[in-house]
């Protein structure tokens, strides 16, 4: 299709223009969110100030003063980072064993792991609250959120890593074995350098999922371990008249992760295959 399209001058202009238009449409809601965050609550709902208004940082000032934004943000960074790291530490050896030493059951184990991700969280919400609050005393701790985020992402992590590791020729790993390299040495010196791109993509995607998780982080926290999802949860209730404030909080919550995504987009474009490319 590409080759055909480039033969006529019209399509050389038409298709890129179309691509640009679609990209701008897709980005527009994010732009609008950021744009609205610089309006006062009153201006945000006035049609005459739809495009022209006096920009203000009032919403952001209000957010850091009254809502303690930084505490939520730091909690998000802590829980997402540790959950991602923990998931990789558990996931890399498991995926390594599955890819290079598969048994009859490897496929079933992988399928089962993914199926745990399909269990609706709501089905086990009450038991989880009951357990963590009444029995384990872990409710509203960083530890709990890290463990839960790690667990809900582990199936995806293992599956992604498995598909990357499988692309690595088995001979390379076997050669290491012949030379008497230990398993840890194989992982550290052969596997990780070879699969670095895949591991980085996995880490990035996991971090994004952790940051954006809004079911458990909202329901298993109150103050101490509350993340940015909880901040959004607390601010979304008074709908309608507080668009400016809402936009500022939302922008501050998604801003870091969107910017991280931009910086790493090359990694994602090349790395996010889930084994789709043969």
């Amino acid at each position: 299709m590409a080759a055909v399209a480039q033969t006529t001058p019209l399509s050389r202009v038409l298709w890129p223009t179309l691509a640009w238009i679609i990209a701008l449409i897709f980005f527009f809601p994010i732009f609008w969110l950021v744009f609205t965050s610089f309006k006062t609550d009153a201006d945000a709902v006035k049609p005459e100030h739809l495009l022209f208004f006096t920009p203000t940082l009032e919403n952001y000032a209000n957010m850091t003063e009254n809502y303690d934004y930084w505490r939520f943000a730091i909690n998000s960074v802590i829980t997402s980072t540790f959950a991602t790291g923990f998931a990789l530490v558990v996931g890399v050896p498991a995926a390594y064993a599955m890819a290079f030493d598969p048994s009859r059951h490897t496929k079933d184990i992988l399928v089962w792991m993914l199926s745990t991700k399909m269990l609706p969280a709501a089905a086990v919400l009450y038991p989880m609250t009951f357990l963590t609050k009444n029995m384990l005393g872990l409710f509203d701790t960083h530890f709990l959120i890290i463990v839960v985020l790690c667990l809900i992402n582990l199936p995806i992590v293992i599956w992604m890593l498995f598909t990357y590791f499988k692309e690595i020729p088995k001979d390379i790993i076997e050669a290491g074995k012949m030379d008497g390299v230990s398993t840890w040495g194989e992982i550290k010196d052969i596997l990780i350098p070879l699969a670095w791109g895949g591991i980085a993509s996995t880490a990035l995607l996991t971090f994004i999922f952790c940051w954006n998780e809004a079911y458990w982080t909202v329901r298993l926290t109150t103050i101490d371990a509350a993340t940015l999802s909880k901040l959004i949860e607390g601010n979304r209730a008074p709908e309608g008249l507080f668009f400016g404030r809402l936009s500022a909080v939302s922008t501050a919550a998604v801003g870091p992760i969107v910017v991280l995504g931009w910086f790493c987009q090359k990694q994602l474009v090349q790395g996010l295959t889930f084994g789709a490319v043969k």
Binding site: M1, A2, A3, V4, P16, A19, I22, A23, L24, F26, P29, W32, V45, P47, L50, V90, P93, A94, Y96, S103, T106, I109, V111, L114, T116, K117, M118, A121, A122, A123, V124, L125, Y126, P127, M128, L131, L151, L154, I208, N212, A214, L228, S229, I232, G240, L246, S247, V254, I257, V258, L260, G261, W262, L268, V269, Q270, G271, F274, A276, K278
Partner: protein, 312 residues
């Protein structure tokens, strides 16, 4: 036998963690689903503690099956998930093909396109339902009001005024009714997940065999027939993966439903469970078990489909 020990040992932490994650809460859910268990009851305070003495057998299941919301919630879950899947795959394919060639600013186009995928689902829902789709304060309302004003203005003109005076006054669509809020959910999730489909398809397109395409072109195949006969079959596997990953995420869709619907009747299965959880834990647990069964039926179906090619 000995050489199997090490791989097992390496997998053990992951398997055990997931097993516990699945079995402990699920076991409790299963137990609660067989007993009478409510959070508040003045009449029967003994039901507020989970105990085997409040055994109800299959009573909770019967209660849930007879609740009219239950079947609606299942239908609605399937409607929402399948609609999202269709839209994201179709849009994802078209956009991926569109940006697969080089043109000025492709890098920026790609960045703009994938950005929605990074947005928190709760923010996504809040943003769409309030600032974009609200029939009065959102862009939806403002756009319709703008069109109405324009039409009124045009009526002043001679000749064409006659024509425009026959135009009706438009009313913005409200996305807070039970049916339309399902559309709103489909719209916002499609916006968020189309970039994911684009990402996966784009990577696969880069591995497409160009020589095949050139041969097809020399044979005089149209762009459309190349797309249908070469590109789409090449993307069969990525499409299966996009469908699978998205099903995993959207079957448990919650934040969007909660924010958009707020008790207007647009519910899916997780949301129904959430409603029961506010008091009737027994019923919530029974619904949860049904949801687990539904998820497993779909999981077996989908994962077999993808899993088959996973191992070769």
């Amino acid at each position: 036998m000995a050489n199997r020990t090490l791989p097992r040992l390496l997998q053990a932490p992951a398997v055990l963690m997931l097993l516990m994650w699945m079995l402990v809460p699920l076991g409790m859910t299963l137990f609660f689903s067989f007993i009478r268990y409510v959070l508040n009851s003045l009449r029967r305070p003994e039901w507020t503690t989970p105990s085997i003495e409040n055994w109800r057998g299959l009573g909770n299941y019967k209660y849930v099956l007879e609740a009219k919301d239950f079947w609606f919630a299942i239908q609605n879950s399937v409607f929402i998930v399948v609609s999202i899947l269709i839209f994201t795959v179709v849009f994802g394919l078209l956009i991926a093909v569109l940006v697969n060639r080089s043109f000025p600013g492709r890098g920026i186009v790609r960045v703009l396109l994938i950005s929605p995928f990074f947005v928190m689902p709760a923010v996504n829902a809040v943003l769409w339902i309030n600032m974009i789709l609200d029939p009065v304060l959102g862009l939806n309302g403002l756009a319709v009001a703008g069109i109405n004003d324009l039409v009124v203005g045009l009526r002043e003109f001679p000749l064409i005024g006659q024509f425009f005076s026959m135009w009706p006054e438009l009313k913005p669509m409200s996305f807070r009714a039970s049916q339309t809020s399902a559309y709103a959910v489909i719209m916002m999730v499609t916006w968020q997940w189309t970039p994911f489909a684009v990402l996966i398809f784009m990577t696969s397109l880069q591995s497409e065999d160009e020589s095949q395409k050139e041969a097809a072109m020399l044979d005089g195949a149209s762009a459309w027939s190349q797309f249908i006969n070469l590109t789409v079959p090449h993307l069969a596997r990525p499409i299966a993966i996009v469908v699978m990953i998205q099903s995993i995420f959207h079957l448990s869709l919650y934040a969007e439903i909660e924010i958009v619907s707020r008790g207007n009747g647009n519910k899916n299965l997780p949301y129904l469970i959430g409603e029961f959880t506010s008091n009737n834990i027994g019923a919530a647990s029974a619904t949860g078990i049904f949801a687990v069964i539904l998820a497993n039926i779909i999981a077996i179906f989908l994962l077999r489909m993808v899993g088959k090619s996973l191992m070769d």
